[in-house]
Symmetry: C2
Subunit: 257 residues, 2 copies
DNA sequence: GTTTTAAAAATGTCTGACAATTTGTCAAAC
DNA sequence: GTTTGACAAATTGTCAGACATTTTTAAAAC
């Protein structure tokens, strides 16, 4: 069964999951399935690589600016250089990785100016998403939001930063999925990923999570009562405050750029 | 000088531009240069490939849904399969190409539902861009817009569809660059590329270009007189009408999906 | 302490290979 | 005649190895 990759010389690279179906990937978790979403697809190495690198970058395993030396990373992941390069091209298009010709790939560095622009667009996008959600949302999306909020609340009391992030992401996704516009959903996810490095820091402000919870609850309530404009305002306000918190955290830790 | 690629066996693949600087690529043409934009970078084959494929798709050389068989396309471009695959990954992330595992890449098919969502986001984005431009725009951006409009007018009288598209694109870019938010610019370009296949058809309506000219002029005038809200409205209106025109053209030619 | 030079590391790109999967064809079975 | 199967051809996914060029590092020279 493993004959094809038998010639791995340098590093055994650990157990190799044979290419099975693995439908548990849930690229778009939750209940709102359409028939198209039922499609089961094989997961190629390239896809797994992209996903794994993406979350590694998001979680700070690779720091912004850090060089990603191809042989090294490929070895780390247990894949070949060509496969890694393909994955890196994907991430480059997502702006998570920057590839400078002849100097290779590194984790993208986001200046504060850029981050500000990203927040600006997020306000626009998430405001619209919330407004649309107030009109289009279905029961299971609301349920998802409620759960996410509950998880968030729990995480606040416990003080687990990781759970805070997971819950926040889940909430955003519920809203953005509930809005019915996939383009917005895609873009939101992209933008959010690009400023992930700010999340942690702004969440480290002990007061922030509690405020965040209030703001998100306001969004939820407005959507639930189908008040589009209130939902938009609440969402914009939330992103705005998140932006301020991030700025504060950013300035505190390293004021350059 | 060509020793490195001397072993091309199958196809001579035509004259190979030796890796020279070729600064004329103008990934972001115009005047609004910052110091960072002066940077001259070597153009790798991968970059050239992406650009060439992108415009080929935009211009309909490859039709939506058409399969892109790797060996074939690689031969066409005179590059190797790995290089092509990297390029395809980039285009996949831009959603211009879809890669189905084990079935390979094909030009993405955009359903009308998706197109509608794209127009929706474009309204949001370009409206904001116009509003921001009214506040931030600099002289040379205005000049670019004016030129683009002039070109457009000329193209209308002559009736050259290609020039219409070029001028339109130039106008949008001027606005979106003038707004000062690079994220918006990036996204606009992306979205615009994804619905390029509609451009041609909607422009084939003989009345549309003239209307389009009026609408764009309105945007220009509003920005020039620094009236942000008027600019936003004009931009939104323009995209809205473009959307309607596209829908009409779409329904006319092929009503499936 | 600079500047120059040489060596090492890393990237860009190509060729060749091959298993796994999909697709197309064509005859056998119902 | 349509459905089923089976086999061959085409295509993709992935790897390994190679090598010219460029960048980086280290050492040497001034």
């Amino acid at each position: 069964m493993d004959g094809r990759r038998g010639k791995i010389a340098s590093k055994p690279a650990g157990p190799r999951r044979s290419r099975q179906i693995d439908a548990g990937g849930l690229e778009r978790g939750g209940d709102g399935l359409t028939r198209a979403d039922l499609q089961i697809q094989p997961k190629t190495i390239q896809q797994q690589t992209v996903e794994r690198l993406r979350s590694a970058i998001s979680e700070g395993v690779f720091q912004p600016g850090e060089r990603l030396v191809e042989v090294e990373v490929a070895g780390l992941l247990g894949i070949s250089r060509p496969s890694l390069r393909e994955a890196l091209r994907s991430l480059e298009s997502e702006r998570l990785v920057t590839i400078v010709p002849n100097r290779g790939p590194h984790v993208s560095v986001v200046t504060w100016a850029e981050a500000g622009q990203i927040y600006h667009v997020r306000k626009l996008l998430e405001g619209e998403a919330a407004a649309l959600a107030a009109e289009h949302v279905e029961a299971h999306h609301l349920e998802q939001m409620r759960c996410a909020l509950e998880d968030f609340r729990a995480a606040v009391t416990v003080g687990d930063r990781r759970s805070l992030i997971v819950a926040t992401t889940a909430f955003y996704r519920a809203v953005v999925d509930g809005c019915g516009n996939r383009i917005i959903a895609e873009m939101q996810a992209h933008l959010y990923a690009r400023i992930s490095f700010l999340r942690d820091r702004s969440m480290s402000n002990p007061a922030r999570p509690r405020e965040s919870l209030k703001e998100m609850t306001a969004i939820y309530e407005a959507i639930k009562r189908r008040d589009a404009e209130a939902a938009r305002l609440a969402a914009v306000r939330h992103v705005d405050l998140a932006c301020s918190a991030a700025l504060a955290a950013y300035k505190e830790s390293d004021g350059e750029t």
